[in-house]
């Protein structure tokens, strides 16, 4: 186990290192004349790497604030959305994944799930907003009017927070149920399920102690993919519901060619995915090798 964790930690480190280099390359574009030729670009890149080592991240073109401060102000909202999304994803995606993970239910559910999953995130967000406005008469922050805050102070703010969280969560749920169903399908093909039952272990014993850990391990191993889905959905949700999060900063930075801010957000997002992958892989390994309690 230790060797595995060290191996994965090495991969995480290499990934973060690569992400930092990539971010520095993007940030180098903000240096004057960096795009004039390869040599200029390499010099600018080297400069940005040096800045990174010395923890100098520059200022945002949008607000004029240091990028670190800008990120510190906006990132919590994005992370909050992602965490809320994880909760919704777990509450919705895990039951669907198990219910429709095997047998005839899986075959019947697959087309239906495809129909639901065919909706792009922004469409899902708009549908949720329409439903909230028309049926529940909630104030909807589609075109401004209601600000989204991480810690709502009143009912209006709380209602406004629900929609982006739900949008992100449903996208995450799609990824979670896919990972679970894939994992359940793999576990269903294992010969040892059949032989352990023949050796006398009750079905529920085999499923609980051996199959479920494997299925959950499959979900954990896909944590990186789930995180990708959540971050992507968060970017869209922030735009749809006018949230001033890190993804919104990214979109505006690209539009205004603020490459330093763009690079910072990119690095953070890549880092989140890589860390999720690392945690997921280690968790999966731990779950499968721990075995059932005696």
């Amino acid at each position: 186990m230790l060797r595995f964790v060290l191996n994965e930690a090495g991969r995480l480190f290499l990934g973060l290192f690569g992400a930092a280099l990539m971010a520095a390359a993007v940030a180098a574009l903000s240096v004057p004349h960096a795009a004039d030729g390869l040599a200029y670009f390499l010099v600018a890149w080297g400069g940005r790497i040096n800045d990174l080592i010395h923890l100098r991240f520059g200022e945002s073109v949008i607000s004029g604030l240091p990028i670190i401060a800008e990120l510190a102000a906006r990132l919590p909202l994005t992370l909050g959305l992602v965490i809320e999304g994880v909760i919704v994803a777990a509450l919705v995606g895990i039951p669907i994944g198990f219910l429709f993970g095997a047998g005839p239910a899986r075959r019947a559910a697959a087309p239906l799930i495809q129909i639901v999953a065919a909706a792009p995130v922004f469409c899902a967000g708009l549908v949720l907003a329409y439903g909230a406005a028309s049926l529940l008469h909630w104030p909807v922050p589609i075109n401004g009017g209601v600000s989204i805050v991480l810690f709502p102070q009143n009912a209006t703010q709380a209602q406004a927070m629900v929609l982006p969280a739900l949008t992100v969560g449903l996208a995450g749920a799609a990824a979670v149920q896919l990972a679970l169903r894939r994992s359940a399908a793999e576990a269903g093909q294992q010969s040892w399920r059949f032989y352990l039952r023949r050796m006398g272990l009750p079905s529920w014993d085999v499923e609980r102690n051996y199959v479920m850990p494997q299925i959950f391990a499959g979900l954990l191993a896909s944590l990186g993919e789930v995180m990708l889905a959540l971050l992507s959905a968060a970017a869209v949700a922030e735009w749809v519901f006018s949230c001033r999060g890190a993804a919104d900063l990214f979109v505006k930075s690209v539009a205004l060619h603020d490459w330093s801010a763009t690079a910072a957000v990119l690095f953070v997002f890549a880092g989140l995915t890589l860390v999720a992958q690392f945690v997921g892989q280690c968790g999966a390994r731990l779950l499968t090798s721990a075995g059932p309690a005696r």
């Binding site: 294992q190 010969s191 040892w192 399920r193 059949f194 032989y195 352990l196 023949r198 050796m199 006398g200 272990l201 009750p202 014993d205 102690n209 051996y210 494997q214 499968t288 090798s289 075995g291 059932p292 005696r294």
Partner: protein
């Protein structure tokens, strides 16, 4: 005093969809009695196993009656609780345990469930059972995962778990299939001893006769759902009445009376090995006497015989340049392999063919035709019509010409895959054929056909054979000379006839004895050791199930270990 009746099946008929699996089978089994049920894949023995084991199967319909122990006879289609403590012993080669969890954890759970005791108690029972059955295998070895254990070690562990549950009835489902003859002999002996000691009934289901030859008990032969033969093994081996049973016993190579020496003086030397030292690099070189030297001439056949882990495959990997060696020289086709570049080595290897007992040796994605075509297309760049001609000839020779061109390798049976390897070898026109446990996992008839095909290959294409096997009968059928290995060292060598007539080393004697089970009761045996008898006292041998061959040193993934799919 009549033993307690454990099983009484009357007029059992089992069908699934429109297929009749069993047609009017009746049998009994008493406590302390062993019964071997023999048959191929379509014989219906799997259906009988399900009924005896009380395993559910939604798709089957059953009529007839079944009585377990003192219980009431009930209709076969009704599943009810059996009052017998029944344990099931699977083959180690079908991946019967979760590969991510330790073997001891799972088997302890099985024992605890079977006995209805806590885990700690079950663990102790398992440990004691293992100690009694296989004192050479430490209990700590079971802490590994199943993929990290050798097949024979796993088989011992599973046998210990089955026996630890003090069953009334033990159902063995091809339990020792695919293991080396020595391992089978030891395991079968231990199982027989445990049965005598504990007095349980044993129902052993098998496709081939080797285990039956060791158990030497009442045997039932099933064919197409019917019992075609029943009686003591001795009687069946001596003078079987049914034509099918006769063919079953005759089908496999026997360790026959020693024949005249077959010469090795065929052609020029093809392979010359001088002072080869297989010690890992960086380690202290082994002594000069441990270095390996031998010669293989063109058209000759040399068998490398030994148990798993004896060093045969490491030697072959070194000969083919797949593994580095500390010292020595390998000359193949008059070329020193040590000085060749990777590209030249690759070119030289085009004249080498493999026929192995590993189903994973063929790319499962490829089609039948593509598998045969590939060497012709890749190495010789022949036109399509020529390739088609060679392909057709090769497939006809191995009996695969009637298969659809687009048949994917993954969908072929083990026997078909084996024959496909021979077809691919035929078109390669090799000067050297490496044959690695070619009969593994095949039933009796398939094994005899494989021997014929390989003999024919050698006759027609004339390659030299380098045979890797743990079975002296296969060595005798295919090779002229042999080198016996034990723990990485060469312990005996020479013409096979000479070795069989007068074996010198204990390892040789052990391998010979495992290839020919004695007539009398087997003495209790520790793992990997059995009592050997001189070849002259050995009974006519019975067909074989061989150990899993893997040319590569690393344990391969579960894919190749799974040879049966659950129902």
């Amino acid at each position: 005093m009549r033993s307690r009746r454990l099983l009484d099946i009357k007029d059992l008929r089992v069908s699934r969809a429109s297929t009749i699996e069993l047609d009017g089978v009746s049998l009994t089994l008493d406590a302390g009695e062993a019964l071997v049920i023999l048959g191929d894949g379509s014989s219906g023995k799997d259906a009988l196993l399900r009924i005896i084991g009380n395993f559910s199967d939604r798709g089957q319909e059953a009529t007839g009656t079944i009585q377990f122990g003192d219980g009431e006879a009930r209709p076969a289609h009704k599943r009810g609780r059996s009052n017998l403590r029944t344990t099931y012993l699977a083959s180690a080669r079908v991946a019967p345990l979760n590969p991510h969890v330790s073997v001891v954890s799972q088997l302890t759970r099985v024992v605890a469930n079977g006995l209805g005791v806590p885990g700690s108690s079950a663990s102790e029972d398992l440990r004691l059972a293992l100690e009694r059955l296989a004192p050479a295998l430490p209990f700590a070895a079971l802490s590994k995962k199943s993929g990290e254990m050798r097949d024979d070690e796993l088989a011992w562990a599973m046998l210990a778990a089955a026996v630890a549950q003090t069953p009334d009835l033990l159902i063995a489902d091809h339990a020792f299939s695919g293991l080396t003859p020595t391992a089978v002999a030891a395991l079968a002996g231990a199982l027989a001893d445990a049965q005598k000691r504990q007095g349980f009934g044993l129902a052993y289901f098998a496709e081939a006769l080797q285990t039956a030859a060791h158990l030497r008990c009442r045997t039932i032969v099933l064919r197409q759902g019917k019992v075609i033969e029943e009686g003591d093994f001795e009687k069946l081996a001596g003078g079987q009445s049914h034509a099918y049973t006769k063919t079953l016993f005759k089908a496999l190579p026997r360790l026959s009376e020693v024949t005249a020496l077959r010469g090795n003086s065929r052609g020029e030397p093809l392979l010359q090995v001088q002072g080869l030292d297989l010690s890992p690099r960086g380690k202290k070189p082994s002594s000069a006497s441990d270095a390996i030297s031998f010669e293989l001439r063109r058209g000759a056949a040399l068998a490398l015989v030994g148990e798993e882990g004896s060093g045969r495959r490491a030697l072959v990997r070194a000969l083919l340049g797949l593994q580095r060696f500390a010292r020595g020289r390998v000359v193949l086709d008059q070329v020193d392999m040590g000085i060749l570049s990777a590209a030249m080595t690759s070119r030289l290897r085009r004249r080498i063919a493999f026929v192995t007992g590993s189903d994973a040796a063929l790319d499962p994605r490829m089609t039948l035709w593509d598998t045969v075509d590939e060497p012709l297309r890749a190495h010789l760049h022949l036109p399509r019509d020529m390739i088609a001609g060679y392909r057709e000839t090769a497939l006809k020779r191995v009996g695969l010409a009637s298969h659809a061109a687009g048949s994917v390798v993954a969908t072929l049976s083990g026997f078909d895959k084996r024959r496909l390897q021979v077809a691919r070898a035929i078109v390669s026109a090799p000067f050297l054929c490496v044959i690695d446990e070619p009969l593994r996992g095949l039933d009796a008839f398939a094994q005899s056909i494989m021997i014929e095909l390989l003999t024919e290959l050698r006759k027609q294409e004339g390659p030299a054979f380098l045979l890797i096997t743990a079975d002296m009968r296969v060595a005798q059928a295919l090779a002229d000379d042999a080198i016996i290995f034990k723990q990485g060292k060469l312990v005996e060598r020479g013409p096979l006839a000479e070795i069989m007539r007068a074996p010198k080393d204990d390892e040789t004697k052990k391998l010979l004895a495992a290839a020919a089970p004695s007539r009398g009761p087997e003495p209790p045996a520790a793992p990997a050791t059995i009592a050997a008898k001189p070849a002259s006292q050995q009974a006519p041998v019975s067909p074989d199930e061989l150990d899993p061959p893997i040319l590569l040193d690393e344990p391969i993934a579960d894919e190749s270990a799974v040879t049966e799919s659950p129902g």
